[in-house]
Structure formats: C-alpha cells, structure tokens
C-alpha cells in the first residue's frame, strides 16, 4: 500500500516527484486512505484564508465553507459564486475561433479548419486571470458545469464525519 508522508504529498502537488518516485511510491495500488486529508491540509496551509477547503476542484478552484454558506473560491482569494452554481458564469472569457486567434496557439493546419464553427473558450479567474479551464466546443454549445460534488455524502457517508464547515457549525 502506498503511504505518503505529508512532505511527499506536498512534493506531489508541486510536481516535484520523478517518474521513478511516482511509479514506486505513488502509483501502486492500494492507495493511502488518508491522502485526501493530507492533501487538504497541505492546500489549506498554502492559502491566505481560514475558511475550510472542502473539495479541491482543479489547480485554482475550491469548494470552501464560509459563514455565508459554501462558495467556489479561487486560490487567489476571489469568490466566484455559490457552491451550487456554475463557476464559469463568474469567469472572464476569451474565445478563439478565427485563424489568427488560433494560430497564436497552434501552427497553421493544426487547429480548427476555417469553415468549421468551433471555438476554444478560455476561462480566466476574475481575480488573478489565471487560466482555469479551456473548452473546445462548437459555436452555440451550452456552458457545461464540469463537476457538482456531493460534499456532505462524501464527508458523512464515506469519511464518517461531518464536513469541516458542518463540524464547525456543530461545535458552535
């Protein structure tokens, strides 16, 4: 069974482990059962706010518990929306569709053909303008919310304890 110490989890998050280290220490099954807790601890230590991280959604976004309810918060501290909303509606967006826009990213012939109505939608954090997602979709495609986590089921049924924000409520 893999059993990563906290400093190794930190290195994993930072992409500092070599392929040999990943293969021997991190990839094998079964996995360390407390990886989630350790990861959450490491991430929590890195942010400038006290509100508990409930779920890491991607490299920059988290579901966070606050006094005003659960929100989607960026690592930079920007609150995007309530946790049950599509955070992409709160992002800044740049669409690449024309040849000159696409050719800033791909060489000629290696992107969408000119007569196809297909977009690259770049979603930026409204706080720090980190690129948080890229969608490749036809024109007119609805903006899909990639992940709706069931936070309480996870903590209560799978981890056997209330979510950290609910635990605080219970303690109050």
């Amino acid at each position: 069974m893999t059993d990563l110490e906290k400093h190794r989890v930190r290195q994993l998050i930072d992409g500092e482990l070599s392929w040999d280290e990943l293969r021997n220490e991190v990839l094998p099954d079964p996995k360390d059962p407390d990886r989630f807790a350790k990861t959450r601890e490491v991430l929590q230590e890195r942010v400038d706010w006290e509100d508990p991280i409930l779920v890491p959604l991607n490299d920059h976004l988290y579901v966070v518990g606050t006094d005003g309810g659960r929100v989607i918060r960026a690592e930079c501290g920007e609150d995007l929306c309530d946790a049950d909303e599509n955070w992409k509606r709160s992002c800044r967006i740049r669409v690449r569709e024309d040849e000159d826009e696409l050719e800033e990213v791909y060489p000629e012939y290696m992107h969408v053909a000119p007569d196809w109505a297909f977009e690259l939608r770049e979603w930026f954090c409204p706080g720090c303008y980190e690129l948080v997602d890229v969608d490749a979709v036809p024109v007119g495609y609805p903006v899909v919310r990639p992940f709706e986590p069931d936070v309480d089921t996870f903590y209560e049924e799978w981890q056997g304890r209330p979510a950290p924000d609910r635990a605080e409520e219970a303690a109050d």
Partner: protein, 765 residues
C-alpha cells in the same frame, strides 16, 4: 476428460485442423439439468433482485480456501495469456503476430466474462453479448451447441467492436454439461468490403462493410466446415492472413479448453462452478470499492465531438455532407459507490462508417476503466454489472440497426472516453490522487491504410506465397501522445487507448507485408502536444513512398480532424489537430538518383517544409486529414502524423526549464513557446541549445496577463453574443447537422439547450 473419444492422431495435415469425434450432449446442456436460457434468466433475476451477481452474499470459496480460489484464477488467467502468446505465432499477419492485436476470453455458460488475457481487452464484454444472443435465439435446441462445435461472430450489432475484429467461440463441455465458453478474437488486416483496410472510412452501410458472420456455426468435431473456409478464402483480399488468423483463434480456444479440463480434473466440477461465479461477483465488488476509494460522489459532465467532413469527399450521394457527432457524457458517482454513465443527447447514427453498437461502447468503457480505475482487479463482467450505462437507443452509440456501417466505431468510442476519463480524473483530483489524473489522449489514427499490387517482376522475386496483392495497415497509430496528469507531462508518442501494451512494431516487419509501401522517415513532430503547466505527450510524423507497385489505393482515417474532439483540463489545451499532405507525380526518383534531399517531415506546416524538397504535379495540402481511397503511383509520397495529448493547468505556470527542454527536444518551436508560454529566447538549431532571456520572459508573462484582462469579456457579454449566434444559426453545415439530429433524438437535451440560452420553447436549430 470425457468429451474426447479419439486421440489427437486424427490431426489432419491436409487442413492443419484437428478433427475429433465427440459424444453428443443431449439438451438441456446447462448446469444441473437447466437449459442455458434458464441459467441466463435466473442469473438476470438474481442480479435484479439482489444487486449481486448470482445473488451471492458471501464469497464462500474465497473466504474459506483463499489459496485454492486465487490459484484457480491465476491458472485461468495464465491459460488465457498462454493461449494468446502461443497462438499468435500461428498467425502471419503482423497485426496479430507483431502487434498482438488479439485477445482470449472465458465466459460462464450464460455468457458472463470470468477472465480475459492481455491484448485488446476491449473485448472483455463483446463476446458476452454474442453468447447471450445464441442463448436467446435457442441455439441449444435449434442450431445445436455440441462438444467440438466452433462458432464465429463479427456482427457488431450482436457483440463485437468493429467489422475486422473476428471472434471464434468454442463451447467447453465436461461430462455432458457446458461449463464455459472460450472466445478468441483477432483484428483482421482485411475483411473484404468496398475498399481495402482494417478501419474503413468509405463504408456507409452494412453491405459495404465486408464479410459478416452472425453468430454462425462454422465447424464441428473441432474441424471448420469446408464451405466456411471457402467463404473466407474468397471473401477477403488477404486469404492467407485470414486463414492463419482463424487457425490462431481456434488453436488458442482449444488450449483454453484443455486448461479448463485440467482444472476441473484437479478440483472437481462443483468447485470450478463455484469459483467462476465468485470471480465475477468479486469483480463487481472490487469495482464498487474502488469507486469509493478513488472518486468523489457527485455528477461530472463533459462532451466530445467528432466532425465528419464528407461534403466534398464522400463517393455516395447520401454521404456527401458535413456532419458532427455529439458525444456528451454525464458520470454520476452515488453514495453507495455506484457508477453511472449517461450519454443522453448523443447524435443519431449516420451514413458513415463510425456508427457504434452498444457492445462496442461497453468495450470502450472496459478499456478505459481497466487503465484508470481497475489496474489490478479481476477484470471481468463483474465490473460491467457494477456500472449503469445509458447509451441512448437509436443514437450513434447504440443504433440497434444492422443496416448501418460499423466499420470504424473507434471514431465514436475514442472521443467519448476522453470525456469519461476527464470526468473520472476530476474525481481523482478532488480526492488528492493527482497522479491518476489523465487529461485524455490523441486518438489512434492517421496511419495510412489501403492496398496495392506488386509489379510482376517484383512479385516473382519475393520468396513468399502471398501473391501479388499487399494490404496496407501499419499500426504506427498505436503510438500517440498521452494526456498530461496533474503531476507530470503526458507520455510522448507511446500510447493507444485500446491496448495498454501498445506497440507500433518494427518497420522491417511491416515492409515485409506491405511490400510496395516504403518508409522514408519518422521524426518527432513539433507543436502537437496540448499546452499546459503539464503538457500532453507529443506526437510524431513520417513519410511513405510507393515503389514497384500498381493499382495502389490509400486513404486515411484522421482524428482529431477539422476540429478538436476534446479539451485539456484545469487550463490545459487540447493537442493539435491533424491534416494531410500528399504528393502525386513527383521527382522523387531523380532526387534519390542524384542524392538530393527529399521530404522527411513537415515540422513547419505554415512554411510548407514538406514541399521544400519535392516537385509534384499535384500536391495536396488539406486541413482535413481524412480522405477516401485515392490512387497512388510509384514515387508518390504521403505524409502522416500522430497526435499529442491534452495538457493540464495554465501554460503560464509551466517552468522555463521544462520549456527549454521542450524546444531542444523538438516538442515545441520557439515561436509557439513565446506566444503560448511567454518564454522568450534564442534557439541555436545547430547546437540544439535554447537560451532563455529571463528578463524578457518575465516581462512577456506579465504582459500576457494584461492581455488576458484586455481581451477577455464578462460571461454576460459572451452569453449575449453567443445567444445571438444561436438564434441566427451562425454555424456551418456540420454543426447544424449535429444540433438538428440531437434535437430530433432527445427532447431532454433540446430542453436543456433551450433553457441554457433562454430560448423560446419552439426553438429548433
């Protein structure tokens, strides 16, 4: 060993097929006096009522005698792997012998997979469907299922992936009871059909697909029927490969049968029966526990797209249009560890070769899950029972229509499972298992296919009984770029989604099969990898020429083609799309005679690198890499390329040191590194050294953040503009085909679309 009366001396050198006489098994042939239909009905009832395979609430054999249980599984799996490794040497096709495009499976009497060999494990469940079809059509009493019988299926609608995957089934009897089924499948290099090739693009209906066997009895007493063998010999372009592949499958199935007999002789038939049921139930349980261990409960959504630009390319009038397949994915992980995949909103099928039967989609599910969630479990139909799927009936993912072409359903499967894998990866990420994240892959395409004939003088010189026809179907496509994970870059040019043991084979081996197609070059192709903090694995490119041949016809299947099929994750971009360059009537012969350079790649398509070293009367440079079969003459050239995987994370977070390596390794060119990553430097191509200007890089990266601020818009602005385009149907024919088809097929999806854009209830595309 009860079924065999005579010894193997009856081996017939004339046919190289063993003939034996077997005892007749009087129906019912199922266990304990049941018919196979009764066994299947009971199995389905118990699954429905209890949620457990055969209703097993305890794995008694496993719990009481774990050593025997695990030893039986290892023996069974070992027998399957051994059958595969041995039998592939019977084949002459490099697809089977060199690449290992074959697989052996063993099923319960009612058709549930117990274990699978290595290889194209996509077939773990496809044989199950064919067996269940034979049971439900009452082959037991009508056609007959007897010891020594041999059955064949490649009818996709009844349990297969694509037409050129051909299955051989052998029922395994013990003392008059059917105890299991052995199934061997090989990927044929040719199956007849309207054009050469193993993944045809020109087929548009069943009648153009080629030779079909529909759960057909093809032999008895271990011997193939003469008429069946004649059909294969006359029905394919490559009769020798067909014949030896068939013998390979049959030999493997017989090895498995012997291994099962030995196991039963050792442990008794009752223990064997108990073991196989428990093994399937264990597979189901492993899957459920793995979901709880690795994923996060909730709902995941994504979508892939597959464009088919046939408007100016198809031969058939009904196919002369641009189309796009919509492949939406909703994955739900529930509180009990259940996993559900719903593809509501998938496109309808079409007049193309890319329709996909439900069983093929399920096969794709297994290939994906065994690579991302079940690396070490008992891979069998237990995991199939643990996943609920909805491939909507009447859609391209489950057409239920045998009239369609199913020659190349991989064009539906591969994009779909990018979306599935990304969805599961979001779960891995949330749980802290960042090393398990995979953003996707480049689909395994852009290997040339077709065939030709050697000029008579060359055909005579070749010391082989292959005749003058040669098939073209190299498996270079099995080395694509894998997507990035959340902790490192993707694997460069080494991944095929359908076979975890991907291998492109040796050039020399392929040149001994496709005699007239000579490989001129292979090289890493820059700018194929998807951008990101962690980039996708890189693709590569190559050049072929035709020599010493006549009647050569070549074509390309190409994904991603005129649009991306997927995106990256967390700010990563999709890998580049593919395209096509080919040169007809060239000066290649003069160039080689004079020692002048010829094309070895196309590293700068914008500058036309390929054309720099060739004169051609007709040079085709097409944004779309897909093309129908096209005639090639000697000295014509064909460029091809393998793609890169998607990236993960914001490219501006990628380290400068990694980008220096990327430039020096031909992964990216300096201009792209500057425009995407903001890294400024000078590249000394001779010394292959990229010197980064750190100050300029820092300034450029800051400037790019400012550009993001200036060039981006609010969601509301985007929404208003895009909605207006929706109202005006401001898209091309292919996208129109997609929206129109989905609206007709799925009212749910149409409502969701209208709801998102605040459109009138009467809106249709």
């Amino acid at each position: 060993m009860s079924e065999q009366q005579d010894s193997p001396e009856l081996y017939d050198p004339g046919t190289t097929t063993r003939e034996r006489r077997f005892d007749h098994a009087e129906p019912p042939i199922g266990w304990d006096g049941q018919t196979l239909q009764e066994m299947l009905d009971e199995s389905e009832r118990l699954m429905e009522e209890t949620g457990r395979y055969r209703g097993l609430d305890e794995l008694k054999l496993k719990n009481r005698d774990r050593f025997t249980y695990e030893r039986l599984y290892s023996r069974l799996r070992g027998a399957l792997v051994s059958a595969r490794e041995t039998a592939l040497h019977v084949s002459a096709s490099p697809i089977v012998r060199e690449i290992g495009e074959l697989c052996f499976q063993i099923y319960t009497p009612e058709g549930d997979s117990i274990a699978v060999s290595t290889g194209i494990i996509v077939h773990v469940h496809t044989g199950s469907l064919a067996i269940k079809y034979m049971i439900e059509e009452d082959y037991e009493h009508d056609r007959g299922i007897q010891p020594g019988d041999v059955f064949c299926n490649n009818d996709n609608d009844l349990g297969n992936v694509h037409t050129t995957d051909v299955h051989t089934f052998v029922p395994i009897f013990y003392e008059g009871e059917l105890v299991a089924w052995a199934d061997g499948v090989t990927h044929e290099i040719d199956i007849g059909g309207m054009t050469p090739g193993h993944d045809q693009v020109a087929s548009t209906n069943r009648h153009e697909d080629g030779l079909y066997a529909t759960c057909e009895k093809i032999g008895e007493d271990d011997k193939l029927y003469q008429d069946w063998r004649d059909r294969g010999q006359r029905g394919t372009r490559t009769p020798m490969y067909w014949d030896l592949d068939e013998k390979c499958r049959l030999a493997g199935c017989h090895m498995i049968r012997e291994a099962v007999h030995e196991m039963i002789d050792d442990v008794g038939v009752n223990r064997f029966k108990q073991f196989v049921y428990e093994a399937v139930e264990e597979g189901r349980r492993t899957m459920e526990s793995r979901v709880q261990e690795r994923l996060f409960p909730g709902t995941y959504r994504d979508a892939s797209f597959f464009p088919i630009a046939w408007k100016d390319k198809a031969w058939q009038p009904g196919s002369k249009k641009d189309m796009m397949n919509h492949l939406p994915v909703e994955v739900t992980v529930d509180g009990d560890g259940g996993l559900e995949l719903d593809m509501e909103g998938a496109s309808p099928p079409g007049p193309h070769a890319f329709n996909c039967a439900e069983g093929s989609m399920e096969g794709g599910m297994w290939v994906a899950l065994t690579q991302c969630l079940l690396h070490d479990g008992k891979v069998n139909d237990g995991s199939y029972f643990a996943v609920d799927t909805n491939y909507p009936e009447g859609s391209v993912t489950n057409p239920q229509d045998p009239e369609l072409s199913y020659h190349t359903p991989w064009a539906t499967i591969m994009p779909t499972y990018q979306a599935v894998w990304k969805s599961l990866s979001r779960g891995f990420f949330s749980r802290g298992f960042r090393e398990e994240v995979v953003t996707g892959y480049s689909e395994t395409t852009d290997a040339v296919q077709g065939g030709g004939k050697l000029l008579p003088e060359l055909a005579e010189a070749i010391p082989d009984a292959v005749g003058d026809y040669y098939p073209v179907g190299p498996f270079e496509l099995s080395c694509q770029g894998l997507g990035a994970s959340a902790v490192r870059d993707g694997l460069d040019h080494g991944y095929a989604m359908w076979n975890p043991e991907s291998d492109l084979g040796d050039v020399e081996e392929w040149e001994q099969t496709q005699w007239g197609l000579i490989q001129l070059a292979r090289t890493v192709k820059p700018n194929t990898a998807g951008h990101g903090k962690y980039r996708g694995g890189s693709g590569w490119e190559g050049v072929y020429t035709v020599q010493g041949s006549e009647d050569v016809s070549l074509y390309n299947l190409c994904i991603p083609d005129v649009t991306f099929t997927t995106s990256g994750m967390s700010g990563g971009y999709p890998g580049a799309t593919k395209y096509s360059v080919r040169a007809h009537d060239t000066d290649f012969a003069e160039r080689t005679a004079n020692g002048e350079p010829y094309p070895v790649g196309d590293d700068r398509p914008d500058e036309g690198t390929f054309e720099e070293h060739i004169e051609a009367d007709e040079l085709i440079r097409d944004h779309s890499g897909m093309f129908y079969p096209e005639e090639f003459e000697n000295d014509d050239l064909l460029h091809y390329k393998m793609g890169g995987g998607p990236g993960f994370g914001d490219p501006l977070s990628r380290s400068v040191d990694q980008l220096k390596e990327d430039v020096e390794g031909d992964i990216f060119t300096p201009d792209i590194v500057e425009s995407v990553y903001g890294v400024v430097g000078d590249y000394d191509t001779e010394a292959r050294e990229f010197t980064v200007d750190e100050e300029a890089t820092e300034a450029r990266r800051e400037e790019m953040i400012e550009e993001r601020k200036e060039q981006s818009q609010s969601f509301e602005e985007f929404f208003d503009e895009e909605r207006e385009r929706v109202e005006e149907r401001d898209w091309n024919e292919g996208v129109q085909w997609m929206y129109e088809g989905v609206f007709e097929l799925s009212e749910d999806w149409a409502e969701e679309f209208r709801g998102f854009w605040n459109l009138d209830a009467a809106f249709t595309p």
